[in-house]
Symmetry: D2
Subunit: 413 residues, 4 copies
């Protein structure tokens, strides 16, 4: 009788290697799935490791272009920021990987998907809600939430012991005292020594960005062009005739990551509210994402009608929560995304940005679609604007206030 | 027969000096009112100038403590930011000055208040809505909106000619090709050469902050303490036994302005949406305000319940618009302010901040009132948290998504 | 030399007849424009009256189909309700008429549009903001806001005197001591004796609906079918083989108006907040509109995803204010309308409704697109739902609450 | 060794009687807790039944005054309505009962609370989130979510068999083919035959209200007085010298229930979205609650400032969801409630209401605190209002629209 097939989201690390073995021991066929979304990883080594442990097959899929074009850039277009600061680099990667693994599961006729996410975090939620949205009849095995597993493996020590016993190769390098998640958009750092919010992060923790005291001493400038809110090209440096022009999304992000990293751009150190109701402390570095977000915000405010901007911002706040909480494929997120895209019809133009010492400084912006009217706003030109109208405008706005003041009888002042 | 009394918001500059003379020529008694809210101004010289022109009296009132404690600090407590970037340094100054001038008008039995704000800007609105809220029976004379005045004085040249003719002293220094508004919280720059949003601002324009290439080469650290969301003390440098501790609000702001300025902190260059429906380009520098806002946001996210934070953020967005538009004393702003203050009951604690090269970097935060629970979040401690519960949580959240996926029949994927 | 042409929104009543004469006396050519949006009016008589007074021409345009299909039905689809009660029957008529009059003005090469709306009301705003949106270079003459006019005609008596003197026919019937606005969607009643909010409205004031004590003694039932949120057919009575089926929008509204009127459906008596900051008391009767709104709300809640419903409701509240305030053609309203339409993609189905004694009672609803799953919700069927999952769901939701309770130390309870 | 004590929320019905016995068989001491919140129940009979089954004790607590004053009236004050129609009669009862049972548990040193709510409904969530908020160290036993229980008792038949076998008295009356929840505020009906949303409810199902064809033939009028948004007295009939005046909250509700019931007021038949993501169909009758809600809405719109009203409405929508979902004691609900109470400071006054044939008709309203100004709004009085100001107001509002129209180049029209 044939065994049930599990597709395991495999990282090559200790946890998912032990899970792989454990699933095989529980009599499943296991195919390992690895998505390349730009993390620094030796995929071939991981493949061999999985094969050695007993994986029936290993799928390694390059999703970098998909991730940049269909998740990272839309996040910038929609202006997604969680709790005013976090650009959601991990949150937008989860649905991307989920599509890959669900497609593999459907193609191979698997019954289960499995992963190594823990029971207190956001990623289990993001991963599983995406899977269930894409594949409602699919089933998920989350070993870290099964008593049989988490009682047996109560700490890293137990995993290492199991690995040794089962001939699973264990990295000689000691694990960093925190955990990271990496993709082309960002690296996150959390847990371990970082759990104490009163302690400064250890020096040398960041990988994509330089410390400010080691940042470049001369600023870099660039022109970033957006069409309908999506980044379409970068010209470096700004205003030069023989500048470098990059249109390829993946290359664009890589270049801005490198440049932003040299200038120490895009670090945050925050305490955030997880979906499960816990507060947790996290560090993030998002060099290209930060540059693009700053430029997009500037262009958007410049191009959009004042009231449309406010509606858009409300929807953007809702969408940021949806995405953080794992609802990328939920009906409300699909709906909100469509509305946000509609808002960006006229967000086309170019923003000149200077990157320097951790700062992203907007120098200038232009757009054929902006409602900015220099003649109208100019102090020196009447420009179809009668100052007397302002008197009426103010007086009518004051009607309600005067009524209230009379009514309150001055007692509150 | 006695003349009607006008209280004129006087700056000592060309515009309000000409307005002063013009009002006198129109047979009003005029008392000039100057509020000291921290701007760089020779008040005595202005007093003599006003007297020379014919002011019946000149009132100079030091509102700096009032401004910091009752307008700037509440703005930080409430988290006020206009269109994601502007900390409202001018907007919160207007109601403060309005209280001063209305009190003077009531005390002196004046019938009118007059000002030199132009007909396209926000300040006329903020000023007059405040005045009408505080003094509903009061009347405002806004010469720049009266055809008799604006037709006569069509440009600066006309004003200078009038000044010469009427023996009003005219500054020998040529006027900067932009206009500024200054107080202890910030300086704004707009109009003139800045009206072109595609042009980088002229170098040397900023007064409170150094350019990044001239900023200090060593970071400064400090501990900023808040009680119920209001800044109460700053300790510089952080973690030193013999540190400088400042509790006096005015002194606190001055010190952070100086420090922030040395590190090039708090500049923005934006296009914003005015209340009247125009877009305008403005530069702002807000050193102390930026440091305090960054620290407050960090503490607030740390201390507040997740859902309270979201409600607070909605109200904060509304309040930012109310304040920008001049409705500080309107019923909706009074109400929203009370609600926002209620949200800050537990926002007490200390944030350690590093200021360096234009950046305000949060290093650590502590609060006796935070809902952060290190034990609960730790990967290594079960801490009253059953991983199995997460399974149920995810499955129930997926009920709706699976239904939708079945319903949509996969067509959208 | 040719005269400037004015298109006057003409009603045939005393006010606009006097305005017509006054404009002619001020040396304008005047073409009168009357839109038929279902009001009870003798258009031919009005045409002759205008001609007699001196109108260069009179345009009478039947906009009833346009009004029902492009304004009233979208208002139902979008769920527009002002301040929880008013279905915006007047507000949605103004932009419809404005399109007609602007088209006429453009076609005839007019320079001005004129109307008889007063200076305290909403209609002047709705009318003019629509005109300026559709025709930014157009100009508006609003006599009731011009001192020359309103000082001369200080009351109805002055108008009647002017009319007599200028041989303008004056109706023999005394004017009702309130004013009304009528179209196929509703009739509104306000001002005059209605201005006292503590006084019950005079009996016999309502024209479209019977008093409850004269309403039919037997209920009527009907099946109302919607496609993408828009009403497409009504079947009367419900469930009969040989029922009357109406698909034509105008006929549909007429039929529901008659039926609703017989059953006394759709009256409200409210105090509302005008855009100008005044509160005013109004009576409205909206028989067909009320039936359609009740049915639409039921279907929508049935068909839409829970979270999409909440987003839609937020946008609906914003849109209701936009429309009430006259911003139908503003960018924010165009944008919001597109978003609201997007939300209605799956709001298709049939609602069975009983109309009786002023009540609109939903009896049943069905939709091929509803997310309602009887099997899932049934107490008697497990249906892919594990009760144990609810435990996890509750426990995880409680994590935050327990933390708060521990933190608050019980002091608040 | 002493047994662990469980406090069981006991109803006297089949489910909780079987649960009582089951808990005793599982070696717990069980004290039954019954809250009297106005449901039609023979409490003494239930007490004897519980004793007979083996309850260690039975606590019957009269919470009717507490429920009306601290849950039902605040719900009216806050304007709570779920999904535009449901007045939350069950949702507000759960936290009230939870306080009672938690107090009992604490007093008696119990370790557990148990209840008979099922695993698909809202009540389990409301009940348990309240318990955990009030008593974070408490534990809940929910038999209907434990496989041991729900696998054993798969339907009503299994329960009856168990009851017979264990000598638990079983009612001779056959159970209605739906389930109800009853308190002084409302009765709800759901599940069973009601699960089919296309089927009209069985006739005779409603208990508190008459069918419209049996409703009284003469209207009743009353004056309802509110202070700070809370109902404080009812005078019946309105305007009579020798009217009945009721101040006692419980009596007030009872009287309005009776009167509303005679007039067939307060029924709804809806499909709603449960917190767990299911849609379910429910019928509710809320006679007094409906009358009070209609009156309160009228007074509130009359008394509140326009913009405060909008902020209040946003918070009211959020609060309605919090309460429906069981978060009455959560930090966000405590906070929102304080904000909503703040909004009601001036909602004091009297509304005259007619109740007739299912309708609640507002006839008049008065309030010493309303911002309504008859003089200001009157067409016949200039009243400190210059019509010319409206011109400026409209023109300034049009600035943005004209810009947009010019920009869009007419293409969208």
């Amino acid at each position: 009788m044939s065994k049930d097939l599990v597709i395991l989201a495999y990282s090559g690390g200790l946890d998912t290697s032990c899970i792989l073995k454990w699933l095989i021991q529980k009599n499943y066929d296991v195919v390992c799935y690895m998505a390349d979304i730009g993390q620094d990883e030796d995929f071939e080594k991981a493949r061999q490791k999985a094969k050695l442990i007993g994986a029936k097959d290993v799928i390694i899929e390059d999703l970098r272009n998909d991730f940049v074009s269909n998740y990272m850039f839309p996040a910038i277009q929609m202006g997604l920021v969680y709790e005013s600061r976090y650009y959601l680099g991990t949150s937008v990667a989860r649905p991307c990987i989920s599509v890959g693994i669900v497609n593999a599961a459907k193609k191979l006729g698997a019954k289960y998907i499995s992963h190594g996410a823990t029971g207190k975090g956001n990623d289990q939620v993001r991963f599983e809600l995406s899977v269930y949205s894409l594949w409602p009849e699919g089933k998920v095995i989350a070993p870290w939430r099964q008593p049989e597993f988490f009682n047996r493996f109560q700490g890293r020590k137990d995993l290492i012991e199991f690995a040794k016993q089962e001939n699973i190769p264990v990295s000689a390098t000691p694990k960093a005292p925190w955990s990271t998640d990496e993709n082309i958009m960002h690296i996150s750092y959390e847990s371990g020594v970082l759990e104490d919010p009163t302690a400064e992060p250890p020096s040398g923790i960041y990988k994509m960005t330089r410390d400010l005291n080691q940042a470049e001493d001369y600023p870099s400038t660039m022109d970033i062009t957006f069409e309908k809110g999506l980044p379409v090209s970068v010209k470096i440096p700004s205003g030069q005739e023989k500048a470098l022009i990059i249109n390829d999304p993946l290359n664009l992000v890589r270049t801005l990551n490198k440049l932003g990293g040299q200038h120490g751009v895009g670090r945050i150190d925050i305490v955030e509210n997880r979906f499960l109701g816990l507060k947790s402390r996290g560090l993030y570095e998002t060099p290209a994402g930060t540059i693009l977000h700053v430029a997009h915000l500037d262009l958007e405010t410049y191009a959009l009608d004042k009231e449309v901007l406010r509606l858009k911002k409300y929807l953007q706040e809702k969408m940021s929560d949806f995405v953080y909480n794992g609802f990328w494929f939920a009906p409300e997120a699909r709906y909100t995304r469509k509305c946000l895209e509609l808002s960006q019809e006229s967000v086309s133009g170019t923003v000149t940005v200077q990157v320097f010492k951790g700062n992203v400084i907007v120098l200038a912006r232009k757009s054929a679609k902006s409602l900015y009217n220099q003649e109208l706003v100019s102090m020196d030109i009447a420009g179809g604007f009668s100052p007397e109208d302002s008197t009426g405008f103010i007086n009518i706005n004051a009607v309600r206030l005067k009524e209230y003041a009379r009514f309150a009888g001055g007692q509150e002042f």
